[in-house]
Symmetry: C2
DNA sequence: ATATTATTCAAAGCTAGAGGTAAATACTCA
DNA sequence: TGAGTATTTACCTCTAGCTTTGAATAATAT
């Protein structure tokens, strides 16, 4: 990754299934690295690195308790991602409307068939 | 990227600022590659590659109109990302509650000071 | 002090990402 | 057909990402 802005870090962190799964498990409460690593067929150092990525994206915070460095979900960063995506919410709601419109259009076209699909907008 | 599941493709596509910006501009309507490339200090082939990434993630669809391959936003995939994130929505709402609790806790501790921060949960 | 448990660091391998330039392809119009 | 415009392919470079193994560090318990 070249970009280091917070949104890019967040989306990049979320682009790995293991990391998403880790977040999912942290949603039920704090876990240590070893506990976290349990289900995955992956070395501990690999998990450590995934945690680093999540930490850099501020999707988790880490504590210190004896020899454990427990991980905790930090949902505020997920909210950041959600805020970005939510600006498009109207678009996917709209697309149902477009589907409706489309369906109405076919019905109409069944009576008066004509152009195949040509919308020939002119471009300079 | 190793993962090829749709969520990973989507989040990975969103992890680049240029690609997010492209989606933002497509939100206002269909655009050709050259129109899209305009604002960025980047070669056309670079833009083509970004579009490929967006297309693979099904965040855009492409048309064919004379020598143009216009791009269109496909919001359904954004909804997929939104659905994943939304399972955590309760967590960031909750975190305000936790802040409240925390603030109450300090107020109490100002009267009877004691342990620095020790929550010493036992772990086997 | 030593053994045990938990976690991280270092080095290396390999694949993919992001960008560039130059050339090829696709379509339109005269 | 040939010129012009739009887009993609091929190829190259460089950096970053994911994973491994083996060794190092940190804290606890004996």
């Amino acid at each position: 990754m070249v970009a280091t802005d917070s949104l890019s870090l967040i989306f990049s962190a979320l682009s790995d299934p293991t990391r998403r799964s880790i977040l999912g498990r942290l949603a039920h409460g704090e876990l240590s690295v070893t506990e976290l690593a349990g289900p995955y067929e992956m070395s501990l150092p690999a998990i450590t690195k995934h945690l680093k990525v999540l930490e850099k994206a501020k999707l988790i915070t880490r504590g210190k308790e004896a020899q454990w460095r427990p991980c905790q979900l930090e949902a505020k960063s997920l909210k950041k991602a959600d805020d970005w995506i939510s600006t498009y919410r109207s678009h996917w709601e709209e697309s149902f409307d477009r589907l409706d419109e489309y369906l109405k259009t076919i019905q109409k076209d069944e009576n008066q068939p004509g152009e195949k699909s040509g919308k020939s907008k002119k471009r300079k």
